[in-house]
């Protein structure tokens, strides 16, 4: 249902959409049924000349069943939603896949700062690329993000990822995403937590790039004096990966 409005751009977007659909259809089914029955009763048992209204206390077994049966059926639906929610929540928020890349995201009134790991792929080094309101990522790459807020609460919302994560001052909140290569291009990022006067203007752009495009972008944004160290950095990264595989 949702993918017709906003494409699915992350590995877990389909799970969120499925959960969304299940909730919508289950709740929608009961909504239509209950209101249909309600309206039916309104017309079927409307005031008629010569018919006296009945007062029903709802104490007989049969009358109670009219409440209890739908009650348990709805509870059953709740359990289905709950179990699904548990799995999706675990996949999106609890589980932390081994990252290929990391990115630091800092929210402030009313801008996003993104610290990309740069060519060495390691966050917090000299060749990090800091940008305002522009996040550049490689499709098909597992990212881990470090989300911070400097002043008040914000929320990092990426509609195509179906990702929404609050940022809280004084805390670093970790999360992950992996962009699908079907969404190469430019997308929205929006603050989704009321954060003051210009909350509505606190948007940013997400650039989902192919590995080649991303490498180009990194090269264009790395100062020349840091570029010479790239070979050394690649070697250390390879040995790090060897250690990980071994």
């Amino acid at each position: 249902m949702l993918e017709k409005l906003v494409p699915r751009g992350s590995t877990y977007a389909a799970d969120i959409d499925l959960l969304f659909d299940v909730i919508t259809y289950l709740v929608g089914f009961w909504f239509i049924l209950v209101f249909g029955f309600f309206l039916y009763c309104l017309f079927r048992f409307r005031r008629k000349a010569g018919v006296k209204a009945q007062y029903i206390t709802g104490e007989t077994h049969k009358q109670k069943m009219a409440i209890e049966v739908p009650h348990y059926l709805i509870l059953g639906c709740d359990v289905v939603i709950l179990i699904m929610t548990f799995f999706v929540w675990h996949k999106v928020k609890i589980d932390m896949p081994t990252p290929d890349e990391e990115v630091r995201i800092v929210a402030q009134q009313w801008a996003w700062s993104f610290y990309h790991a740069g060519q060495d792929g390691i966050l917090g080094t000299e060749d990090d690329i800091a940008t305002v309101n522009e996040l550049h990522i490689k499709a098909g790459t597992q990212y881990k993000f470090h989300l911070e807020a400097t002043d008040v609460m914000h929320s990092f919302s990426v509609p195509i990822f179906r990702l929404k994560q609050d940022a809280i001052p004084g805390r670093i909140i970790y999360g992950h995403f992996n962009a699908l290569d079907t969404v190469i291009g430019e997308w929205d990022i929006q603050c989704a937590e009321m954060c003051g006067y210009m909350h509505g203007g606190m948007g940013a752009r997400l650039f989902v790039e192919t590995p080649e495009q991303h490498a180009e972008w990194i090269a264009a944004n790395t100062p020349d004096h840091l570029k010479t160290a790239s070979i050394a950095a690649t070697t250390t990264q390879e040995s790090k990966e060897d250690a990980k595989n071994g």
Binding site: Q108, Q109, W110, A130, T131, V132, T150, Y197, M198, G201
Partner: protein
Amino acid sequence: MKLKTTSRSSIVLKLAFCASLFLVATVSSQADERGKQLYKNCIACHGAEAEGNKAFKAPALAALSEKYLVAQLTKYKEGHRGMDVRDVAGLQMAPMTQTLSGPEDIAAVAKYIASLESTPKEATLDGDPEKGKTAYATCAACHGADAAGNDLLNSPSLLHQYDWYTLAQLKNFKEGIRGTHPSDITGSQMRPMAMLLADEQAMKDIVAYIQTLSN
């Protein structure tokens, strides 16, 4: 008959002249109204009299010229200022320019701000105005011996400004937080000037001297 025509056309001309005056007056007063209306978005931080507010790191604006205000608002809107991750206050200002839809709005709000009355601000830093006076000679070339600024050189007035703000901007220029965007021509003129100042104390001295010019 001929005379009559002349007088008639002169009346028409006079009427047209009056009408055009009226039109100009209406249009410009509409622009003034628009400026006042737009400024309501700025009040939360900069105050009703554009007096600024330290709690929000918001500078006083009332003493700045219309031209300078237009230039800075345009820079913010186009991302030439307030787009450095270290510029916390600038990042906060930049999205505010979204409330201005284009050059007309920027001109209107700048005109309104420039029409407001400015007041001297109390000194809060421990600079030595005597030392600052000597160093200020360099600044005087553009900002004037009286620090009133010069629109022809795109240099802002430094009067009636908070010392903490002027200090913060000097630091921003020196550290390359402000004046480094390739399109920020006037900022890049100021940057090497700020780099002449050896340390924070030298900046405070100059600011302390500028503060004495306000009174």
